[in-house]
């Protein structure tokens, strides 16, 4: 029986692979980083012991950090490859790119107005302002956490190129940016993408690459209208993935969400035991 074509293609397999890779490496870094940060508490030591103690936790953290930096470099190369250089720089603007534009400022104001009931929901195109923010936040985060992480990777080598006291600075910057990134993902990102009434309980768009056409008409009406106008809508509409695959996406997604919540809850609960100064 042919399944009904109810879903709109939103992410390519390459997009999904970037996101999957980011999830895996980000969670590895989160677990090992928090275990090390909380190493003076019984909970932190318990998490570290799952990896065989602090030496292993730190080593895994370092290697995962390097992999993340390699991934980031590859992503930059991918982005350079994807830019339409023939129409550059005009190609950076337009509804399909993630570059912030004036329309995003208007979209933000209108979205805020909608939250307070002043106006209708703005008619977003392919990417809304918060989706662009989510994308670029990873950039700023990776640059900050990556540079300081590389400095801390081998402190003795680093101090050949800069004063050793830069490591005092690097550790604190690394730590605050990491807490910001984890806090943002485990509360705001999860809520916006999965727990809003319209997405609850699970939004699999980044896993199966599609969103419901009906949902797209509400959240990204300009995009759907543009596809329709250009005659691209019909080929962009596909049937949902097979049920076993959907179950797999759901289970994977929620194990990551629960892992994030576990870290969040216990990190907050143990925060008072942490000696920072």
């Amino acid at each position: 029986m042919a399944r009904e074509r109810t879903r709109l293609k939103r992410f390519t397999p390459v997009h999904r692979l970037w996101h999957l890779g980011l999830i895996l490496i980000f969670m590895t870094l989160s677990v090992t980083g928090i275990a090390w940060m909380y190493f003076e508490t019984p909970w932190g030591r318990g998490v570290a012991n799952l990896f065989g103690g602090y030496l292993n936790v730190l080593e895994i953290h370092r290697i995962a950090g390097l992999i993340m930096m390699v991934g980031f470099t590859l992503h930059i190369l991918y982005m350079i490859y994807r830019i339409d250089w023939k129409r550059f720089p005009g190609s950076l603007l337009g509804p399909d790119t993630l570059v912030f534009q004036w329309v995003d400022v208007k979209g933000f104001v209108a979205h805020l107005g909608w939250i307070f009931g002043f106006n209708k929901l703005p008619r977003f195109d392919r990417w809304s302002w918060w989706e662009k923010f989510d994308y670029w936040a990873v950039w700023w985060g990776l640059i900050i956490v990556g540079v300081t992480g590389l400095m801390l990777y081998n402190p003795v080598l680093t101090s050949d190129y800069m004063p050793g006291w830069m490591l005092n600075v690097a550790l604190w910057v690394h730590r605050i940016e990491a807490v910001l990134a984890m806090g943002h993902i485990f509360t705001i990102h999860f809520t916006v993408e999965h727990w809003r009434p319209s997405s609850f309980p699970f939004n699999a768009a980044m896993f199966d690459g599609t969103i419901a056409l009906e949902e797209a008409k509400h959240e990204h009406p300009e995009w759907v209208a543009r596809l329709e106008k250009n005659g691209l809508l019909n080929e962009a509409v596909v049937s949902p993935p097979p049920v076993p695959l959907r179950i797999l996406y759901f289970l994977f997604g929620y194990s990551i969400i629960f892992l994030g919540l576990f870290l969040l809850v216990f990190a907050i609960a143990n925060a008072a035991l942490l000696t920072l100064f």
Binding site: W114, P155, M162, P163, V169, S198
Partner: protein, 215 residues
């Protein structure tokens, strides 16, 4: 007198001259912490030399740690000499509480005497102290951090509290970097947490009213 002999002479002169260039451009980077002493580690006036090292006042526009007020006891052979009520039986934590709250002690379980050595504890600027900056990197840091250099040893083990205003004077870069990051992080949460909460409520109310999503 052949040309070849002239060349050999010139090469010989270069061999004599070149190493002195090397000495003239000695930088902290060249000072790998081998644990050996060089002349500059021990000769009089060495303090001037170390002021120019990373951590000295002139590096990075004066944003690094300023030299703290050095107490007179820091030069004594027994730093506790003359301290009222001092007894070698006391635990260090009784008086030096802030110094016990750093990564070395809390996470790695390093004890005070592993760096400061046992009784009598010498002042860190005493000429023979292991923690004297002229040999700290080799005698203390390198016990765990293989190849530690004087630059490496300028890391502040007992780091100040980065957010108090005092640190703006004692270690400006530390103070400003941490504050900038804190403002960034707190700013993101102050903005996005209420925003997301209100957004959730708005969608929920729309649902309750039975209208399609995003009414």
């Amino acid at each position: 007198m052949s040309i070849s002999r002239t060349i050999i002479c010139l090469l010989g002169m270069l061999l004599v001259v070149l190493p002195s260039f090397g000495l003239a451009t000695e930088s902290p980077k060249d000072m790998a912490g081998t644990g050996y002493f060089r002349d500059q580690d021990t000769r009089p006036g060495v303090l001037e030399f170390y002021r120019q090292l990373p951590g000295g006042e002139n590096r990075l526009w004066g944003m690094g740690p300023k030299r703290q007020v050095i107490r007179r006891s820091s030069f004594k052979k027994d730093a506790h000499n003359g301290v009222a009520d001092f007894s070698p039986e006391l635990r260090c934590q009784k008086c030096h509480i802030p110094q016990t709250k750093d990564l070395h002690g809390l996470r790695m379980g390093i004890t005070c005497v592993q760096c400061h050595r046992s009784q009598p504890v010498a002042g860190i600027y005493h000429y023979y102290s292991a923690l004297n900056p002229i040999r700290r990197h080799a005698y203390v840091c390198a016990k765990c951090h293989d190849g530690a250099t004087p630059s490496f040893a300028s890391y502040l083990v007992h780091e100040p509290n980065p957010i108090v205003s005092e640190t703006r004077n004692t270690f400006p870069l530390f103070y400003y970097a941490v504050w900038v990051m804190l403002i960034l992080a707190v700013g993101v949460f102050i903005f996005f947490l209420p925003y997301t909460g209100l957004w959730w409520i708005r969608e929920f109310i729309t649902r309750l009213k039975g209208r399609p999503n995003h009414g």
